[in-house]
């Protein structure tokens, strides 16, 4: 079964110089239980694809499904966790208030919700700062509370858009370890990144985009030839010949 199914997806943006294809006929399947790195240079169409996948915008043509459902239906989003690129949140709330409110949006309540919030705060190392306003958090703490928010509903698939961008090495390591944990739990992780070394460490599958088109897709060990580093392979795939 596939966690993500994208079929012949095309997204055209209108610019002053005419229409630009942000995504061009993308077809991609992400199997359940895998950690998939979604790679590509800036402007490759990664975030646009993720935004279509989550129903933030409608594609010009084609279709995208997550766990077999159209995510434009609110109920289908119950099984998804999403962390945006450069995440920000309601800074006037405390970490605990944010996670509790998020849980309520997923119809969680009572002692179950409290336990879930406590365990998530502990998991992301924010138990001591749980009752402090988020406006007092560092960049790394903010990223971690947003990540905890992503996991409140115990999602089956986690979609992360550049989860390590702007983080220090410790923050990056935390995110990597969390992704490994999710894989051990049998969850699907679909994440976009520029950090090839990280992708190499945590992913078992890759999808590489360039100029809106999918240029490579499959298990890491099948795609990247022996003796070649992922970085070299990536450059070979995305650089014009």
């Amino acid at each position: 079964m596939n966690a993500v199914e994208i079929f012949n997806l095309t997204v055209l943006f209108q610019t002053r110089d005419g229409p630009v294809k942000a995504v061009d006929g993308l077809t991609l399947n992400v199997p359940v239980g895998h950690v998939v790195g979604f790679l590509g240079p800036n402007g490759a169409g990664k975030t646009t694809t993720i935004h279509v996948l989550l129903g933030f915008m409608r594609p010009t043509s084609g279709a995208a499904k997550v766990l077999g459902s159209d995510v434009r239906e609110a109920a289908a989003r119950r099984r998804i966790g999403y962390l945006a690129e450069h995440p920000d949140t309601y800074r006037f709330l405390t970490g605990r208030e944010l996670l509790t409110a998020t849980g309520r949006l997923f119809d969680l309540k009572g002692p179950d919700l409290s336990r879930r919030v406590d365990s998530l705060l502990e998991r992301v190392g924010l138990s001591a700062a749980a009752d402090r306003r988020i406006s007092t958090y560092s960049r790394g703490m903010m990223q971690r509370v947003c990540l905890a928010q992503t996991l409140v509903n115990d999602p089956e698939i986690v979609i992360l858009d550049e989860p390590t961008s702007g983080l220090d090495p410790i923050g990056r390591m935390d995110i990597r370890s969390l992704m490994s944990d999710l894989r051990r739990q049998g969850k699907t992780v679909f994440f976009s990144s520029h950090e090839l070394s990280e992708v190499e460490m945590v992913c078992d599958r890759l999808a590489i985009m360039a100029k809106g088109r999918l240029v490579a897709e499959g298990p890491v060990e099948e795609l990247v030839p022996r003796g070649e580093r992922l970085e070299e392979y990536f450059m070979r795939m995305v650089m014009p010949k």
Partner: protein, 267 residues
């Protein structure tokens, strides 16, 4: 029930934000200081001062609610976009309609609560001066005022679905300000003018909200007693219908909005 719980959760987030931001206190203290200053003057004799305190106090309460209601309601949705938090919110199992209603409800509740405090301040000043206000008349005045705030905030939310915060707030101030100042006088203009102008005034008369039916300041200030119950209920129903209409428009517009990291239009 779950739908209502989600709307209440969103409203609670807005309420917490309003309470923890400073702007609400600044406006309250500034207008409150003006009212207290007026109340402390005793140049017109005691009875005149009570009337004067009521008149200026209730006017200040309306200005306070108007400024704060539109400002805060026009801010909520655009701020979600500028902060980027809208993407995280849209990825949760909430509909865009629930987001619109939750945001509006939070703004309306916070502004209505702040206006209630302002009423309490005015009543305290009147009582301190030896004056009296019928609690039932005061309740009617506040309930209708809250109805007017519901209309103003829902209009601002509707405008903010397609405009940035400044544009939505400015347009909402213009529409509501014009409604306050112009609408009660339009019948005069209709009779005075002829042809196209008269029709234009008639169109404005029917298109703009009639805040005068929700304004009981004169009745409270000059002790005219409570409004007839049928008129009170009809005025509240009028405010409810307008609010629902603006929220329905806001939901319709927001559901069709394409959210993209870039400001480019999707073809």
């Amino acid at each position: 029930m779950k739908k209502i719980a989600r709307i209440l959760t969103l409203a609670k987030i807005v309420l917490r934000g309003q309470i923890r931001r400073k702007d609400i206190y600044v406006v309250f203290m500034l207008l409150g200081a003006v009212v207290v200053l007026i109340a402390s003057s005793d140049i017109l004799g005691l009875s005149s001062v009570v009337t004067y305190v009521l008149e200026t106090g209730l006017l200040a309460a309306w200005i306070f609610g108007w400024i704060l209601g539109i400002y805060s309601a026009a801010r909520e949705l655009p701020q979600e976009e500028t902060r980027g938090t809208i993407f995280s919110l849209l990825a949760k199992p909430v509909t865009r309609g629930e987001i619109v209603v939750g945001k509006w409800l939070g703004c309306w509740c916070s502004v209505a609560a702040a206006v209630a405090l302002f009423y309490a301040l005015v009543v305290a000043l009147v009582l301190e001066r030896g004056g009296f206000i019928s609690p039932f008349v005061l309740f009617q005045a506040f309930a209708l005022h809250a109805g007017a705030l519901a209309v103003m905030t829902s209009l601002a939310v509707a405008l903010s679905t397609r405009m940035n915060q400044d544009a939505a707030a400015t347009l909402a101030y213009i529409v509501t300000g014009a409604s306050f100042l112009l609408v009660p006088r339009i019948p005069e203009f209709v009779f005075r003018e002829a042809g196209l102008r008269s029709n234009l005034f008639l169109f404005l008369y029917h298109a703009l909200p009639h805040f005068e039916v929700l304004d009981m300041r004169t009745r409270v200030t000059f002790g005219f007693g409570p409004a007839p119950l049928w008129a009170f209920a009809a005025s509240l129903a009028y405010a409810a219908i307008l609010t629902i209409f603006f929220l329905a428009v806001a939901t319709w517009l927001y559901e069709r909005k394409r959210f993209s990291r870039s400001e480019l239009a999707v073809l």
